[in-house]
């Protein structure tokens, strides 16, 4: 497909930014910055989806771009900011694995993701096929972040970042899922975040802390 080169360049730029922000999240221990990084990811996602919509002429992608703008740049960060202010959490405690080591593992993961996505990307006819590997890398990096963090809030941000990666995979490989599915996914994410908000208060009420190592009592004995 003879897509305008500036568009594919911009999308590649967006993909690079997305990957970079994932690494920034991995290394960031300040929770407020994590939320801001998450909002930045949302913004990158919005711009790149809009560009894909423009070049491909798939009108329903404009709607999903708008959806990600509203949900991921405005609503979710706002909810998270309010939660952080109410719960008064600022710093994540020491991660399970120290940060340089986490970054190294992250690099290995990116290589793995690219190797995995290679055969599939060659089949793709979309302008954005080279980004599928990055999308997979973002998903796996967020997974890594969830594993290494201890605070409930940072785990949740990892969870949401994973959803960003999935969304990016959907637009980059296929020009987006059918609208009804995207609406459903967005609804699930929103409701999930609200439930987590409820959860934070329950956890706090019970444990006087959002640190998850307090709640590791249900082990196999």
């Amino acid at each position: 497909m003879p897509a305008p080169t500036w568009a594919s360049q911009l999308i590649n730029l967006g993909a690079a930014l997305l990957l970079l922000s994932s690494f920034a999240m991995l290394s960031q221990r300040r929770i407020l910055s994590l939320v801001n990084l998450f909002a930045l990811q949302g913004a990158v996602l919005y711009v790149s989806t809009a560009i894909v919509a423009h070049t491909s002429g798939a009108t329903h992608l404009y709607a999903s771009a708008l959806l990600s703008l509203i949900l991921k740049v405005i609503v979710l960060p706002w909810i998270l900011h309010r939660l952080i202010a109410r719960l008064n959490v600022r710093w994540d405690t020491e991660t399970q694995l120290n940060i340089p080591a986490t970054m190294l593992v992250g690099i290995v993961i990116v290589v793995f993701a690219f190797a995995l996505a290679q055969p599939i990307a060659q089949l793709s006819a979309t302008v954005t096929r080279s980004t599928l590997g990055i999308a997979l890398a973002v998903v796996l990096l967020s997974f890594l972040m969830m594993i290494t963090r201890r605070k409930a809030v940072s785990q949740v941000i990892g969870f949401l970042a994973m959803e960003n990666g999935l969304f990016f995979a959907a637009t980059s490989a296929t020009y987006g899922m059918p609208m009804v599915v995207e609406l459903g996914v967005a609804l699930d994410v929103l409701v999930g975040t609200l439930i987590l908000g409820v959860f934070f208060f329950q956890i706090r009420e019970q444990f006087d802390s959002l640190d998850l190592h307090h709640i590791e009592r249900l082990r196999e004995d």
């Binding site: 599939i120 785990q155 490989a173 296929t174 009804v180 999930g192 019970q206 249900l218």
Partner: protein, 483 residues
């Protein structure tokens, strides 16, 4: 029409109970909605049997012999559980473990949970299937932490995060599936996620993409079905949530998750023309059976014990679907039915036993039969049934699975047999001690509803001795469909 009712009743019920859920008669209202849902499911089943598969609402909903049997089962167990939950939750309220506001949440979410499962079963759109599965997690996560104890909040958190991560993998798998399908079916009109369309062109789908997609789908939905190694959430969620929720999680949600895996497997098999997907499922299934057999020995909490037993049975079913072929599929479908009926019956009796003893620790529950013969015998018979003692239906299905395994994958048979024997010993020694012996258990303020227990066990017994020809034909049709 029946389908519309089937989905509308629990959805309306959820809203109605969100308003009236704190009233005295909320439990009766909840049961009423569930009975109505079951009636709609019966009507739908009768229609599908009489007129064949149903494809409605711009092809968004699809009911064939495979899912109609699960819809009927889901609605039935949903109904009996709501009947059981009425006295059970009253006792919990009398014991001061829940208040009216939490009961409102409980009733409303119970109906919503039923709705999401029925939607997941009846939809033709694989994307909507994903959305409904995620919604099923979301609707139950606050129920697991209903008692607000430290352990229950931990269990709910684990449930949410593990299932959330798992289901994110499933979404990636769905995206890959869509990616492969879009090339054949085109993105316009968005038919590329409709299962019936995918099924029609499955031979043309790109095999490498589908193979990779299946790995993600199996890990994703498999997490929800409690397959090892991502099974950690299951025993916690079963032990800490209210017992009716343990019963529907174990009896229904796990089935629905497996249903999603099998639907995807049909497509992947058609595309790859290799036993790749089946082998993967057999591996996961066997791992789950073996791991849970060992973990069963270490349990002290009765609901955790039966949670691990659910993992074991999901493993057996996954293994059977993995082997494929008419007999193994028949056995897997039968096992899904009998496991779901037996396990929910066991949870009903266990729930009341734990209420009487005031604890779920097995060492402190003694002499059930002396205090309440019906609960004691219910638990004993249910346990014997789930352990595969003839003439119960679990024996029939496990026997069929073993016979097929012996013929096609002989190496797996001793492993399976050993795991089953281990599980038998682990569970039986515990339950025997709980049922017999002296007792200081106290009577309950509300008399328990034990009709569902014996209704379930009777059905399981019947399926073991005699499967009505119509039902057998139906299983055969579904088994053939799965391939």
């Amino acid at each position: 029409m029946a389908l519309l009712l089937l989905l509308a009743i629990p959805l309306v019920g959820s809203f109605a109970l969100a308003v009236f859920g704190a009233r005295r008669w909320a439990a009766e209202l909840n049961a009423g909605f569930s009975v109505a849902t079951f009636a709609a499911a019966c009507a739908l089943t009768a229609r599908v049997i009489a007129e064949g598969p149903l494809l409605v609402a711009h092809e968004q909903f699809f009911v064939d012999p495979f899912n109609v049997f699960l819809i009927a089962l889901t609605a039935f167990v949903g109904m009996t559980t709501s009947l059981f939950s009425r006295p059970y939750m009253r006792v919990e309220e009398a014991h001061g473990r829940v208040n009216r506001r939490r009961l409102r949440l409980y009733h409303s979410m119970y109906q919503l949970f039923c709705f999401t499962m029925l939607a997941a079963l009846s939809t033709n759109n694989l994307g909507i299937l994903w959305v409904a599965m995620e919604a099923a997690t979301l609707s139950t996560v606050l129920l697991v932490s209903l008692y607000r104890t430290a352990a229950s909040i931990e269990a709910a958190w684990k449930y949410f995060i593990l299932c959330g991560v798992g289901i994110a993998q499933a979404l990636f798998g769905t995206i890959l599936l869509y990616f492969a399908a879009e090339k054949i079916l085109g993105a316009e009109g968005s038919t590329a996620l409709l299962w019936t369309h995918l099924d029609a062109v499955k031979g043309q789908l790109e095999p490498t993409v589908l193979g990779l997609a299946f790995v993600f789908l199996l890990v994703g939905y498999g997490t929800k079905a409690g397959l090892a190694p991502l099974h950690n959430w299951l025993p916690d969620a079963h032990a800490e949530g209210p017992t009716p929720i343990s019963a529907v999680l174990s009896g229904l949600l796990l089935n629905v998750a497996l249903y999603a895996v099998v639907r995807c497997k049909i497509l992947v098999d058609g595309a790859t023309h290799s036993p790749f997907a089946g082998h993967l499922m057999m591996g996961f299934g066997l791992l789950s059976v073996v791991l849970s057999a060992f973990f069963l020995w270490r349990q002290r909490d009765v609901k955790r014990l039966f949670g691990y037993s659910s993992i074991e049975h999901m493993g057996i079913i996954t293994f059977a679907f993995g082997m494929g072929g008419p007999i193994a599929n028949f056995a897997a479908l039968l096992h899904m039915t009998v496991h779901s009926l037996t396990k929910s019956a066991i949870f009903f009796t266990v729930g009341h036993a734990a209420q009487k003893a005031g604890t779920q620790v097995m060492d402190d529950i003694r002499g059930l039969i002396a205090v309440s013969p019906t609960i004691g015998w219910g638990l004993m018979l249910g346990t014997l049934a789930i352990l595969g003692v003839p003439p119960f239906g679990v024996f029939t299905s496990e026997f069929l699975v073993l016979v097929t395994a012996m013929r096609e994958h002989a190496w797996a048979t001793p492993i399976l047999l050993l795991a089953l024997a281990l599980a038998f010993a682990a569970i039986f020694r515990r339950v025997q001690a709980m049922v017999f012996g002296d007792s200081q258990l106290k009577p309950l303020p509300h008399s328990p509803a034990l009709l569902p227990v014996f209704a379930h066990l009777l059905l399981v017994l019947m399926l073991g001795v005699y499967i009505p020809p119509a039902l057998a034909e139906w299983y055969r049709l579904a088994a053939k469909l799965i391939g």
